[in-house]
Subunit: 333 residues, 2 copies
Amino acid sequence: MATVKEIRLKSRPSGLPTRDNFEVAAVELRDPGPGEVQVKNLWMTVDPYMRGRMNDVKSYAPPFALGEVMNGGAIGEVTASNDPAFKTGDLVQSQYGWREAFNAPANTVQKLDPRGLPPQAFLGVAGMPGLTAYAGLLRVAALKDGDVVFVSGAAGAVGSLVCQIAKAKGHKVIGSAGGPEKVSFLKEIGVDHAIDYKAEKDLTAAVLAGAPEGIDVYFDNVGGAHLEAALNAAKLFARFAICGMISIYNATTPQPGPSNLALLIGKNIRMEGFIVSHHFDLLPKFIDDLSGWVKDGKVKWQETVFEGIDKAPDAFLGLFSGENTGKMLVKLA
Amino acid sequence: MATVKEIRLKSRPSGLPTRDNFEVAAVELRDPGPGEVQVKNLWMTVDPYMRGRMNDVKSYAPPFALGEVMNGGAIGEVTASNDPAFKTGDLVQSQYGWREAFNAPANTVQKLDPRGLPPQAFLGVAGMPGLTAYAGLLRVAALKDGDVVFVSGAAGAVGSLVCQIAKAKGHKVIGSAGGPEKVSFLKEIGVDHAIDYKAEKDLTAAVLAGAPEGIDVYFDNVGGAHLEAALNAAKLFARFAICGMISIYNATTPQPGPSNLALLIGKNIRMEGFIVSHHFDLLPKFIDDLSGWVKDGKVKWQETVFEGIDKAPDAFLGLFSGENTGKMLVKLA
C-alpha cells in the first residue's frame, strides 16, 4: 500500500484563514474495492467560495467537517479500476478535492474528454468558473447589443472570461483588478479600460473615465467599494450580476452594504445574485461556444500554479491577497 | 381679481425638513388668458418622493426651484375656461400642486372621470401610488402562485394596496408598519401577520414568525433594517421590488446599506428598483382591475387629511414621522 497525503480542516478560521487552519495528513491508500476506481489527482482547484465552507454555517454548499478532507474539484488519472467503464490512464473529474489520490465508487467520478484543451482547463475556463462567467453575463445580466460592461475581479478565473465573452460579442469592457501585472493581462485580453483599483482613490471616477456614458452591465466578483462605484456609474435599467463578494468573505463583523443603494430606484437597476449550479443546463451550449472562441483566438486564460499538495493551503490563502492572475490551481502530479 | 395662496420652497433642507423650508405666499389670480383654464384645487397630494426634489440634485424628478411653487399632483374644478374642451365645473387632474387655484394652458390639465370613486382617490389608490403598488408587485416582483409576500410601509398609500392586491390574489401577506393603530388597519385589510416594527427588537424574527418558511416577494418602501430583515428571511429565488427607502431620505450622511447583501448570491435573489413612470402602459389594466376589486369589497383605503393650504407643509412633514395611515392628502376646498 502506498502512503498519500491529504489536507484536512484542522480548525475554523475567524476572519482571514491561516496555515494553522489546515493540516497535512498521510494516509494509507488500500486497493480499490468492488465497483471502485483508484484515482491519482493531477490537478486540484482552490476557489473563493470554499472560504464560506470553512465556517460552520449552512449555506448553498455544506460546511467542511472539522478533521476531515476538504472536498473540491480535481482532475485525475485512473490508476486501477474495478469497474468496466474505466480503465487505467483514463482522465477523470471528481469532487474528492484536496488529496493526492483516492478510491471511490466509479459512478462518483466523471470521465473527461479534454477536446484539445489542457485537462486543468476544466477546473477553470472550461469548468465551473467558465460556466459562471457565461451564465452570469448572458443569462443573469442578460447582455444585449450595445451594453457597456464593467467587471470587477476582472483578472480572475471568472472575471477574465466575462471580459473576453463581452469582447467577443463586440462590447465595450471596463475591467478592474489589483496591481500593474493584472492590468497588463487585462489589456492583453482586450479590455478597453483597465483599472488598477489599488492605485485609485475614486473608483466611481475611474469607471466613468472609461465609460463617460455610464455602464449597462456590472459583473460583481468583489462587492464593497466596487459595487458602490457600479451603482454610481450605472445607467437607467442597468443589470448587475452578483457573483461574489470576495472583499467581505473574511470579515469577522458585519460589513455595511453600499451607502448608495437607493440609486436602484431612480435608475431602475436590477441586481441579481446567482450561483452556477442553477445554470448547469447551459453547460453544453457553453462548451460549444467556448471551443469556438478558443479556436478563433478570442479567449485566452492564465493560470497561477502552486506545486504539490503541501502548497494547497498557500494557494487558497493567495486568493484573498490577490496572488493569482487567472485561475489559481495546485498541480499534484 | 381674487387673492389665492400658494406654498413655495423657501430654503433647501439639510436632513429632516422643517416648516422654515416653506413659505406661504399670497398671489393675485388674474383671469385666464387665451387657451387657458382657471382651476380651483380641491385636493393636493404630498408624497415621500418630493423630499428628493427639495435637494438641488438631478434625479428622476427635477429639483424644486427656490422661491417657486412646489409642484405636484392635484385634483381641481374648472372655474373659468377659454378652451372649448373644458367647461366650468369640470373635474381635472393636474401637476400644479401646492396652490389654491391657478391658470394654465388647457392642454396641461386632464379631465377626470371619477368612475364612482371620490375624486381624491385619484391622488392615491387610483392614482400614482396605486399604479406603483400594482406595477411593483405584479410586474417588477413578478408575483406568482403560492408566493409569500412581505411588505414594509404596509399601512401607507402604496403598501396598503400591495397587501390587498396580494390578498385578492390569494397570497399570504406579512406587513410591517409603525404603531398599534396602523397594525389594526393592516388586520382590517386582511394582512395575515401584521408587525409593529416600533415594538420589535428583531425584525428578522418578526418576519419569520409570520412566515416560518421564508418569503418569496418583498415590496420595499422603507430600506434600512427592513431590507436587511427581508434578505435574512428570503427564500431561494426571492424577488424584491425596491420602491422607496423612506428610512434614509432625510439622512445628511451616507447611510450604510444592509450588511447581509451577500445573501443575494447563495439565495439567487433578484432585487429591482423601479419608478412608476416607466409603467404607465399598465394604467388602463390597473384601473380595470382596481374597479373590480373595489366593487367586490376587496380593496379598502384610508386617508389622512390635513385641511387648508397652510397645513400642506405639516402634512408633508408628517410623512416622515409616520403620521399617516394610508394616503396623506391636503383638502383645499
